[in-house]
């Protein structure tokens, strides 16, 4: 089966300085991949490369086998991005955000009308439908981002730290929807620091450290490679950084 997202020896970063030094990993349909790493490890840079906001210096990124430059429109249509810090139009209400997103991603109108009330209910935002972002709390803003992503139901979700600011119900709804989407065939790449949650929901993990991939695999595989039976992801991660400081 062809990879949904395929990253091959990606070297990238900002003009003067490389942040990523040859990263390779895949996201397949029907899996949730956790992108784990400390602050500054290169998670957000990797994500910026994936969504096509940064130009790779070496290596390649393909979605459905196609790079961004081959067909930007198809490339972007295939993925939804949920940023770490919610980015909203000050001038648009919640409803207008949803409608604009649906329009921009070419979602048929009847499908939009069918999907958005379900999402509103799920995230308890029915009352806020005609509010402006200035009146939203941090968590509500994050919910708008999540709803927009789940509204278009793309093949690939790229999610940067989804849990910060969400209330427990919101987190639950988000995780539930993510699982549903996976079961329907989507692939999800999720960067997070909340390792205990990642441990329960992710099928595989990619651990980035200082711009390189330290290790990747299922929790079982990670445990084996560290020879730490029954260890939690937290413990594995701490072990990993300890090894690093010993080198």
């Amino acid at each position: 089966m062809a990879s949904l997202l395929h990253i091959d020896h990606l070297v990238g970063g900002y003009t003067h300085k490389n942040v990523l030094h040859g990263i390779s990993f895949d996201v397949q349909p029907r899996e949730i991949v956790g992108l784990i790493g400390l602050n500054g490890a290169g998670k957000s840079t990797t994500i910026k490369h994936i969504i096509g906001l940064m130009q790779e210096k070496q290596g390649s990124i393909t979605v459905h086998g196609k790079t961004f430059s081959e067909d930007p429109t198809i490339y972007r249509e295939s993925m939804a991005y949920i940023p770490e810090v919610p980015i909203l139009y000050d001038e648009l209400t919640l409803y207008e955000h949803l409608e604009l997103t649906a329009m921009a991603y070419g979602l048929p109108e009847d499908l939009f009308k069918e999907r958005y009330p379900v999402l509103l209910k799920e995230f308890h935002m029915e009352k806020q439908l005609h509010w402006f972002p200035v009146h939203f709390s941090k968590g509500m803003r994050q919910k708008v981002m999540i709803m927009c992503a789940f509204l278009i139901q793309p093949d690939l979700y790229v999610v940067d730290e989804p849990f910060v600011g969400l209330d427990p119900l919101g987190i639950q709804s988000y995780l539930q929807l993510m699982n549903d989407m996976r079961d329907q065939g989507a692939g999800i790449l999720m960067s997070t620091h909340i390792l205990s949650t990642a441990e329960r929901y992710c099928d595989r993990f990619v651990i980035i450290h200082e711009g390189k991939i330290r290790t990747q695999g299922t929790l079982e595989e990670l445990r084996e490679s560290f020879e730490m039976k029954d260890a939690t992801l937290d413990e594995l991660y701490i072990q990993l950084t300890k090894e690093d400081s010993n080198v």
């Binding site: 490339y75 001038e91 109108e109």
Partner: protein, 404 residues
């Protein structure tokens, strides 16, 4: 060691620098020349209007009323910053020098309003009192300045009172008293003028006693007012140049916005039309500025006596609206979603052009109709053709370069 004097010097330095930075843009811009043109045209009409003014025209009362209002119009620039409420509030006692200096600064800055008003109303004054010595008028202006100073102080004291209705009452009384002083002085009824001045001084003493009982300085309010004032300056400067940190006030437009939104058909290629329309209506001042220009232009189209000049003014206002709407295209330059949407850039440009054409067509048609109403049929036709031609020439010659 905290020095209020030093703080004031820093703040005033930064403030003046900021003003002059944008002042340069304002006085260099070609719009400034247009404004100058406008003002001189208005001055000529003013003169013509004065010449045919009947002796029964209440010009005396216009002068008195305007001066009276000016005495209580005293915006206070405290030059405070938002963080001050955290860091400086503890030093309120030591800040008295600072506040004294800001009051003096606000007073001096306001003198330009006095000079402008005195110059503009001078001819009216001498229309009412053609045989008076010029010194009497200068004396009146001096009285205005003194009253302004008193009122500024009283206003500063009244800031300590948080009760809005009390403040309004205070302002009304002061307006009444200072207008009466100016009125009696103008009518050369010096005894009455002296009596009212006496009452006035008593009021000031009372206000001072009343406000200094226990109240503290309302930092939050001063900061907010300063921000509003700076924002209106930035908005003005924004007419001439791009002011990056202009925090736009959002306007909900409960009725018109949903109607305009629903007129955009649903579909991927219309996404940018959707955003542009809503931003035009709600964000900052695009729509309100357009309406302002539309109305100002309409009024001038009636007032200006020469019909060719009317046409030129009409075109001028079409140009100004188009020029002022240009920044809308870059309104979302920091917006990541615009880059992520699977839509081609040329759809964005197309959406922008279509909005631009729509509002300009509307303006051109309204102005043309105004000519028709005035029965200037030939100029209406000429204007319509010129307006449409101008719109397309402007968009091809200027806009195209700016937005690609």
């Amino acid at each position: 060691m905290f020095s209020a004097q030093k703080l004031f010097k820093e703040r005033i330095g930064a403030h003046v620098k900021e003003l002059s930075r944008y002042g340069r843009y304002i006085f260099n811009g070609h719009l400034a020349i247009l404004l100058l043109f406008l003002i001189s045209a208005l001055a000529v009409f003013y003169q013509q209007w004065l010449a045919q003014l009947s002796p029964s025209f209440p010009s005396e009362w216009i002068v008195i009323g305007t001066f009276g209002v000016l005495t209580v119009y005293n915006p206070l620039q405290s030059l405070l910053k938002e963080a001050d409420i955290v860091f400086l509030i503890a030093a309120e006692e030591k800040m008295s020098t600072y506040f004294r200096n800001t009051i003096v600064y606000s007073f001096i800055i306001q003198l330009y309003v006095v000079i402008l008003a005195a110059a503009a109303l001078g001819p009216l004054y001498f229309h009412a009192f053609p045989h008076r010595n010029g010194w009497v008028y200068i004396g009146t202006v001096f009285l205005l300045i003194v009253c302004k100073g008193w009122n500024l102080l009283a206003k500063w004291w009244m800031y300590r009172v948080r009760d809005k209705s009390l403040r309004i009452l205070d302002m009304c009384i002061r307006l009444l008293l200072s207008t009466s002083v100016i009125m009696f002085f103008t009518q050369e009824q010096m005894v009455y003028a002296a009596i009212v001045t006496g009452i006035y001084i008593a009021l000031f003493i009372y206000i001072y006693r009343f406000t200094h009982k226990s109240y503290g300085i309302p930092w939050d309010e001063l900061i907010q007012q300063d921000r509003h004032r700076m924002n209106s300056f930035y908005r003005f400067a924004n007419l001439f140049t791009d002011v990056p940190h202009l925090k736009n006030k959002l306007k909900q437009r409960k009725w018109i916005a949903p109607i305009m939104r629903k007129r955009v058909p649903y579909g991927q290629e219309h996404s940018y039309s959707y955003v542009f329309r809503l931003s035009f209506l709600r964000s900052g001042d695009y729509a309100s500025m357009y309406i302002r220009l539309l109305i100002m232009g309409s009024i001038l189209l009636f007032l200006v006596p020469n019909m060719w000049l009317k046409g030129i003014f009409g075109l001028l206002f079409i140009y100004m609206s188009m020029f002022q709407l240009m920044p809308l295209y870059k309104h979302y330059r920091t917006m990541i979603w615009m880059e992520l949407y699977p839509i081609q850039q040329k759809d964005k440009q197309r959406a922008f052009y279509s909005l631009m054409y729509q509002v300009t067509w509307l303006q051109t048609i309204i102005y043309t109709l105004l000519f028709v109403v005035q029965k200037l049929f030939i100029i209406a036709g000429v204007f319509f053709v010129c307006g449409v031609a101008f719109m397309y020439i402007f968009s091809f010659a200027y806009m195209r370069k700016k937005i690609t």
